[in-house]
Symmetry: C2
Subunit: 419 residues, 2 copies
Amino acid sequence: MAEIETLVTEIARKAREASRKLTSLSTEVKNRVLLETARRLREEKAFLQAENEKDLAYAREKGLSAALIDRLTLSDKVIEGMARGLEEVAALPDPVGEVVKMWRRPNGLWVGRMRIPLGVIAMIYESRPNVTIDAAGLCFKSGNAVILRGGSEAINSNLALARIFQEALRSSGAPEEAVQVIPTTDRAAVNVLLTLDEYIDLIIPRGGEGLIRFVTENSRIPVLKHFKGVCHVYVDKFADLEMARRIAVNAKVQRPGVCNAMETLLVHREVAEKFLPVVAEDFKAHGVELRGCPETRKLVSWAKEATEEDWDAEYLDLILAVRVVPSMDEALDHIARYGSNHTETIVTEDYHRAMRFLKEVDASVVMVNASTRFNDGGELGLGAEIGISTTKLHAYGPMALEELTAMKFIVFGEGQIRE
Amino acid sequence: MAEIETLVTEIARKAREASRKLTSLSTEVKNRVLLETARRLREEKAFLQAENEKDLAYAREKGLSAALIDRLTLSDKVIEGMARGLEEVAALPDPVGEVVKMWRRPNGLWVGRMRIPLGVIAMIYESRPNVTIDAAGLCFKSGNAVILRGGSEAINSNLALARIFQEALRSSGAPEEAVQVIPTTDRAAVNVLLTLDEYIDLIIPRGGEGLIRFVTENSRIPVLKHFKGVCHVYVDKFADLEMARRIAVNAKVQRPGVCNAMETLLVHREVAEKFLPVVAEDFKAHGVELRGCPETRKLVSWAKEATEEDWDAEYLDLILAVRVVPSMDEALDHIARYGSNHTETIVTEDYHRAMRFLKEVDASVVMVNASTRFNDGGELGLGAEIGISTTKLHAYGPMALEELTAMKFIVFGEGQIRE
């Protein structure tokens, strides 16, 4: 334990040192590093895949599931995806140094707010090794040093990826310690990380609810967290039912295993009879299991019975809870009670109801007449994302480059003093 | 303990309920409540002062210092100050509902970012009872419910102030539980508050470093913290020395007991001989004790010797540490090492040095040619402040109405689905 503590503390201390240098790195140098890393990822594919093979061999030996092994694999496609991702981040505007606004005070002081890096960010994540490069790219572009702690099953892959990033840093004269992977799979390393508030400014956990709760409860450092996505589509009595059908199906089946997929469908009683039997056929065709309230089951005989747990469930699967509500108020109450502040959609043609939904629903992304699947940094136009925050401090919703910065005040004076 | 837990949890639960109603309260109603509270504070002065007298009697009995008793007193002037403060907050723009920006995606989606309240804020503070009204006013205007936990020596005053605010809430049809004071002085109440992350979104501690550390280390809820203000004025070799003198004196003596007062003066070696003996006379005239580095003491014979602790010290008193630095780099290193990320000023006539200081110094407010005393919400034009954050997550620097909000994404669609 003492050894791990020394190791991790030393990494964090170096990250802090590097972060001070990053503050004044030009956009040009940062972009050069990102493009150079992309180039080297492609060039050193053989090396990466050989290191990855060590992790895969161990995973197979341990009998990990095919799905997990798939996520762990650095295929040609995954490597190309990481390289392209870095090129896209290089093309995004640099948030650092942006003066968001500036105003003049009666005494002549000019006051502005300037974006600056947060400092040192620690990412704690699970299996996919591509997160190593995606997170490092975003943190670096926004001027932050990053400490990466991936899943133990990907340790060789992660170290190899970081090495490539560090070579690009070195060759551009940027501090190598801007990107570091914790070189041990010992779990104690996470506990140490969470106490180093002297060196680390932010922790971003990415993974299952268990990981996120553990980090939140044990961290002394602020945590940006994404709990779960229990997303609703509410089909209002004034909905265009054809549109509602398209949106509901897309929200559920286009990619059911992700956090912005719909988990519960709410249908206004006045349109339930017309809407539910039809959309149920769509769901059946896509192999979706329905779990309905009593009214739903009257209209869709094959739906299973929903229990209280179903309203809370994040299935991440081809399962959908369905509830008929007597009024929009009840839809709003249901969402306030069971929603996870992630993504909520109303389908309606009524202006006032659309506006009310937008204003009153408390979720990181609130939509009218669009699929919940659009809650994504890329889809919303932020360029890339490092996660989705479902709590309101610092960031709410998809977090991209801007969310990895803070704003300091700058003041231009001419000798003003306070009377 | 179980009783306290039930009491505090119930308060927090009610605050959460109230916060949902506050989201859709119109600006008009909010301002009416603020103005009505101001009116009642003036009208019920006798009641307030009678309740305050209970606290004062107890304080005298316990032998509290005159300074503490002064801070505890609800004088006519303090009451008028609270009432005016509320009127000023009523006059500020309502941040809630502001759509900060909006853009259109290639698929026609309109995406915007809208300010919303954070939810429930708990303030934990020490003696001054006027914080009760100041904090309640800002939280309420920004649509947040607030739970107030003041010093035990002010309990009767705080309860009386909250009662007046609640009467104004009730008479305007707003939820009374928007403003609640914890009605016990039991210390266990704070420990309970810090665990209620289900109901409370943000903790703001205001007080000594001990209180803030305790809250930070024990809270499961995000904390906006203001540690200490070790603020520097760096007098560059290209400074206008007359201006430097004015700024240095103002920064130290205009109000030495506050966090944005200067604690250490850094002087470039090339101007030390000309500047220090002169400014030292100013400080002497104001009764300031100087603690200098060896070079300073060669120039100012009566300065005491500074030790390592002096560079870290937040004196909050008529004491000043003084150091001669051989270069701007060393001034920057000194600030990076000993500064508290609060307020830093350079005095210089050199354009490049001014810009470098603004860019490189990591502090919530970085200034050129102005007194550190301007780090204040009112002085910087934010209208009012609830504290000054010296950490970068969520807010950095003075926190006013905007900092008490989050931004959600709103999306206007026309049936878009994700391909």
